[in-house]
């Protein structure tokens, strides 16, 4: 290795470390902040290095807030949203991709069009609708507006379109109908994308803030991202507690991500159009 090459490698390594530090620092800062007492967090002595191991913030969060309910709400709604979005999206995509019926193209056009509407533009109407239906402060109120995920239909349709026609004809000759085709052939053939879409939908639902924030006003029905806002009170902001609840809220998603890392990468590559 020439000395120039060594120098280049050294610079690159330092650069990479710097970038990594930049990314990790907020997490690190959140962690050491959550391990300090509220007084120390705002004192002049609080430095960059960890100097205290004080789980008071965590204990306070666990005992004095509805964290357990928030977890249950977050997990419950995210799981129901993920399951419903994947199953309905898959069936809709199958119909658009494989079945011949009048209005098929128009239906796909509607799906594509709904993809173009930013969800924020709909929150007011959705709120009025959910309120009229009496669903504010219920799981159903949190879940229903989040069930519309056109990108799931679009991705599934592309994958179903790519299944060879003969595969379908073989099943038809074997005496299988559309349910056999979808659940015994098209779904197993596309397990990879199903897992990937599932994880992405789950993370999206888990991180959703704006809609659950509007749809829920009572503390026991809140999801974790909304719950974080409840840690403050009239006397100000409690940084250590805020950071501890944020870390606790992010944990399940981080764990899920680590388990399904490869599939998520796959899904991101698909949605950015570089399908491998």
């Amino acid at each position: 290795m020439t000395s120039l090459r060594k120098f280049e490698n050294g610079v690159l390594t330092i650069g990479t470390f710097a970038a990594a530090a930049l990314w990790i620092f907020p997490l690190y800062w959140a962690f050491i902040t959550s391990m300090r007492s509220e007084d120390r967090v705002v004192s002049k002595e609080a430095g960059v290095l960890p100097d205290e191991f004080n789980p008071a913030a965590y204990i306070d969060i666990l005992w004095n807030t509805n964290l357990v309910s928030w977890y249950i709400n977050s997990i419950g709604t995210a799981v129901i949203i993920t399951f419903t979005v994947i199953v309905s999206g898959m069936m809709c995509a199958y119909a658009i991709s494989q079945m011949r019926f009048p209005g098929r193209r128009i239906l796909y056009g509607v799906v594509l069009a709904s993809f173009m509407v930013p969800s924020q533009a709909l929150v007011v109407t959705q709120f009025i609708l959910m309120n009229d239906m009496g669903l504010i402060n219920t799981w159903a109120g949190i879940i229903l507006p989040q069930l519309i995920v056109p990108v799931v239909i679009i991705v599934y349709k592309q994958f179903f379109d790519a299944v060879p026609k003969e595969m379908r004809e073989a099943v038809v000759l074997d005496g299988g109908g559309d349910y056999t085709l979808l659940f015994k052939v098209y779904l197993p053939l596309n397990w990879g994308i199903t897992t990937a879409l599932g994880i992405i939908t789950f993370i999206m639902a888990w991180n959703q803030f704006l809609w659950p924030f509007l749809a829920v006003t009572t503390e026991d029905k809140m999801t974790i991202p909304v719950g974080i806002t409840q840690v403050n009170d009239a006397f100000g902001v409690f940084y250590a507690r805020l950071m501890s609840v944020a870390l606790l809220g992010a944990m399940p998603v981080a764990i899920a991500y680590l388990i399904f890392q490869k599939k998520v990468t796959e899904a991101v590559m698909i949605s950015s159009g570089v399908k491998g």
Binding site: P164, E166, M167, E169, A170, V171, V172, L173, D174, G175, G176, T180, K184, V185, P188, L189, W191
Partner: protein, 356 residues
């Protein structure tokens, strides 16, 4: 009768792809639909399978009119060119798929799959997935999937065209043996006339959606109904030369070959007037080097050992092929004089129809 088609037609919108085809395939026959690509042979097969609707006419299987019957209830099984195996299932599950859909008892499924695996020598592969198999094995699994259904008719849509040449020959033999072993009616679609000749009990030649001729392979070879069949069946293809009738007597017609200054005789009772423009057809193996025939210059000789193919050019600029057996001279670049026995010369009218 195994399969009967009566005046069957198919069109996609305004585009007609199969025109008024009527044919009969006796039970247990191996029938081959052959023709150039786009001749409608695959469409015809898919119509028998029920994968394409029939625009006009009727299709019967074992005496039952199935024209309007859905594919699964026609008792046919199809083997696709791309195999269409389910990649997520093992070989066993691929073969058992249709039986499971019919809710066949487990023990029976096992027996039927094992039996098919035995016939096709797939016993060792049953727990593998299709991606772990070679092309030939995949093809066998596809056939196995058809066998377990015990259909009245097997339909093969160019099943060997994805295999390499050696494997194709081997699978061809296996298919012929399989047919002998299970004795079911089979229809096989191919554009390869060698496959057609070697496999078929009965060949159906199609062109542009019209049935040109049906019959035993050698009947088609020796006695084609028209120029298309004559040219399509046989490899290398039949040579066609333009000419003019000069005399007709005693079951013989003498033809002057255009631009070659020679005459050839053909056995024929056809009533064609002297001076009529016609075409003669001679197979490569029937052209023999003789003194006083028409002359050709050999461009290239393919010497294959037992047989040599001479690719030669006539004075008119037309290329012909001559087949010689057991010759050892090198003909490259040489001028040869050719003729043919009157019994081997076929006559075709200008429109391509045969003059007998």
């Amino acid at each position: 009768m195994g399969i009967t088609l009566r005046n069957v037609s198919k069109s996609f919108g305004a585009l007609g792809v199969v025109h008024d085809v009527s044919l009969d395939i006796p039970t247990g026959d191996f029938a081959v639909f052959v023709g150039p690509s786009g001749c409608g042979k695959s469409t015809l097969l898919r119509m028998i399978a029920g994968l394409e609707e029939t625009t006009a006419g009727s299709i019967s299987i074992e005496g039952r009119d199935v024209t309007e019957v859905e594919p699964a209830k026609r008792e046919v099984a199809m083997v696709f060119q791309s195999y269409a195996l389910y990649p997520h299932l093992t070989v066993f599950e691929n073969m058992a798929f249709s039986l499971r859909l019919k809710k066949t008892p487990k023990a029976q499924v096992n027996d039927m799959v094992q039996e098919a695996a035995r016939i096709l020598h797939l016993e060792e592969q049953l727990q593998k997935r299709p991606s772990e198999l070679s092309g030939g094995q995949r093809q066998r699994v596809a056939i196995g999937r058809a066998i377990v259904r015990k259909p009245k008719v097997f339909l093969f849509d160019e099943p060997l065209s994805n295999l390499d040449a050696e494997l194709r020959v081997q699978m061809r033999l296996e298919l012929a043996k399989l047919h002998r072993e299970i004795g079911a009616t089979m229809i096989y679609v191919t554009h390869d006339q060698v496959e057609a000749m070697t496999l078929a009990d009965r060949i159906f030649v199609l062109k542009k959606g019209v049935l040109q001729q049906a019959g035993k392979p050698l009947d088609l070879y020796d006695d084609p109904h028209n120029q298309f069949v004559g040219g399509f069946i046989g490899s290398p293809a039949m040579n066609f030369l333009p000419g003019r009738v000069v005399a007709r007597q005693g079951g013989m017609i003498r033809v002057a070959l255009d631009g070659l200054g020679t005459e050839l005789s053909a056995k024929s009772d056809a009533s064609v007037a002297e001076g009529t423009a016609i075409k003669i057809g001679i197979r490569p193996e029937h052209l023999v080097p003789t003194e006083g025939g028409f002359e050709a210059v050999v461009d290239m000789a393919e010497d294959l050992g037992g047989v040599s193919y001479l690719h030669a050019r006539l004075a008119t600029g037309k290329d012909i092929v001559v087949e010689l057996r057991g010759r050892r001279e090198n003909f490259d670049g040489r001028k040869i004089s050719l003729s043919a026995d009157a019994g081997e010369v076929l006559l075709f009218a200008e429109d391509g129809s045969r003059l007998r």
